[in-house]
């Protein structure tokens, strides 16, 4: 065989091998880079997986905590509902309330009770914010205003010269107990009043709370004396207001959770709407008027829950009390 032929064949094979080796080297480098990228992706994936696992564990812990808190809040809500008074309907007066917490438990609260044979006391409070912290303050106020013989309300009724001084003294006592500039105590608005069933006189102290509305002779009259909320100033200078009340008159007291309830367009339900609904339903029983307000409010509200606690209290003055009826009044009210 021709040596040149062999030589060219050898050179071809040599060149082919050289090309193949260069190609192999290039492919090996590409493979190594791919391996590094794969390794990097693996590490990222592992980190993502670790983070996902951590979030899952955190989520599980949060769900457990939430379930526990929810269970506790449901119990607290039940206890808070138990503290509210039952409706009262006697020959001399009637009282009904509507109460709907924004969350499980509310910073709003109301109560009413007989302080003497002829004095029907009532209050409504609205602790700033809503939820557990507000509700705890609400519980504390309620425990201090409970109609015990040695409680604040009873003591002031008997030690003060008149009802105006008594309502001021009671709200001042609460302010002294809750004012503390060094603590995180919550402040609250309130309206505390007394209805003298014998004299036909309404006396109240308004501490930053919306004014009460008196429905008398077919007209609504807003009666307010302003005032600072309880627990915000050391000496807020609370004042009392008084007016005569006639048989057939109705008193409405509410929290701003009603008037500031907003619809889908962020429009407030408003005071005028509330006063008007109550006026239109003035001839209805108090519980029927409350049901109408509740239905209108639910229809107005944008979501499934209210944005603030909602409270409405209606008190009807029917006629002056007399001694003969006192026993039945006391039995139903206390």
């Amino acid at each position: 065989m021709d040596a040149d032929v062999l030589n060219r064949a050898y050179e071809r094979e040599k060149a082919r091998r050289k090309k193949a080796e260069a190609l192999l080297e290039e492919k090996s480098r590409e493979l190594y880079l791919s391996y590094e990228k794969l390794q990097e992706s693996h590490e990222q994936l592992q980190q993502t997986l670790d983070e996902h696992n951590r979030q899952t564990e955190e989520m599980t812990r949060l769900v457990t905590t939430y379930t526990t808190v929810k269970d506790d809040l449901e119990i607290a809500a039940s206890l808070q509902a138990d503290l509210l008074p039952d409706p009262v309907d006697t020959t001399t007066h009637a009282a009904h309330g509507y109460f709907q917490p924004a969350q499980f438990i509310a910073g709003d609260a109301y109560d009413y009770f007989m302080l003497s044979e002829s004095v029907f006391a009532f209050y409504i409070i609205d602790v700033e914010g809503h939820g557990a912290a507000s509700a705890m303050t609400s519980f504390a106020v309620h425990s201090q205003l409970t109609p015990k013989l040695d409680g604040i309300c009873s003591r002031n009724l008997h030690t003060c010269n008149n009802h105006a001084d008594a309502v001021i003294a009671t709200v001042n006592d609460l302010n002294n107990n809750f004012y503390n500039p060094d603590s995180k105590n919550k402040y609250f608005t309130m309206l505390y009043g007394m209805l003298d069933l014998q004299a036909g006189k309404l006396t109240w102290c308004q501490a930053g709370h919306p004014a009460l509305t008196l429905y008398s002779e077919g007209k609504p009259i807003e009666l307010g004396c302003g005032g600072f909320p309880v627990g915000i100033l050391e000496e807020p200078g609370f004042e009392a207001a008084e007016c005569d009340i006639k048989p057939g008159d109705r008193v409405a007291i509410y929290s701003d959770g009603i008037t500031e309830c907003y619809n889908e367009n962020k429009g407030f339900f408003g005071k005028d709407r509330l006063i008007d609904i109550l006026l239109q339903n003035r001839s209805s029983e108090a519980y029927q008027s409350i049901a109408t307000v509740r239905d209108e409010l639910l229809a107005w509200n944008a979501g499934d829950e209210f944005n603030d606690d909602v409270t409405l209290l209606l008190i009807d003055y029917k006629k002056p009390v007399d001694q003969a009826e006192w026993n039945s009044v006391a039995t139903l009210s206390l």
Partner: protein, 179 residues
């Protein structure tokens, strides 16, 4: 075309006509002959090599390409026995070329430029294959079919009734199975 095909062509020429013949063909064409199996080379080079082989050996170009097809098949079968073992007869195997084998080849070599086959399945004893490829290597297909028939021990006749080399849009290969 993949370098592996060029290498098989070199192997066939060297086996049949000696190293001198392949060397002479490369000298004639001016091509390097350094083909790496996995790399892709211009289709024109295989046609240049076939032309030069025809000049060198005096064998008809069509027959040369047919022979190359016959030569390629055993290597294909050795590397991909599963494609052959999946069938017991030639007709079934030929139907699987476009419907299965080329699909699998494209998975491994996405850049592979494979011919396309359409079929007319007239009867169990007759089959028409329509070949389309810009390379117009229909005679390579004939060689591959012939070697496949040998593998399945099948006697057949093939009429190449229409051909892309004669201006047809596609080649028509009409087969009759005699067994």
């Amino acid at each position: 075309m993949k370098g592996v095909v060029f290498n098989y062509l070199a192997e066939m020429v060297e086996e049949g006509f000696g190293l001198e013949a392949w060397d002479s063909i490369l000298q004639t064409t001016g091509l390097s002959g350094n083909y790496i199996a996995s790399e892709t080379y211009p289709d024109e080079e295989i046609l240049m090599l076939v032309d030069a082989a025809h000049e060198k050996t005096g064998i008809d170009k069509k027959e040369l390409i047919r022979s190359f097809g016959r030569y390629l098949l055993p290597s294909f079968r050795e590397q991909n026995p599963q494609f052959f073992e999946a069938h017991t007869d030639l007709r079934s195997f030929l139907l699987s070329v476009d419907r299965m084998i080329h699909i699998e080849v494209r998975k491994l070599h996405p850049d592979a430029a494979l011919p396309e086959f359409d079929y007319d399945e007239e009867s169990e004893s007759e089959l028409t294959m329509y070949y389309t490829s810009p390379r117009k290597l229909c005679h390579l297909a004939e060689g591959l079919i012939d070697a496949s028939a040998e593998h399945y021990n099948t006697k057949y006749t093939l009429d190449h009734t229409e051909c892309m080399h004669d201006g047809a849009e596609r080649c028509t290969l009409h087969l009759k199975f005699l067994d």
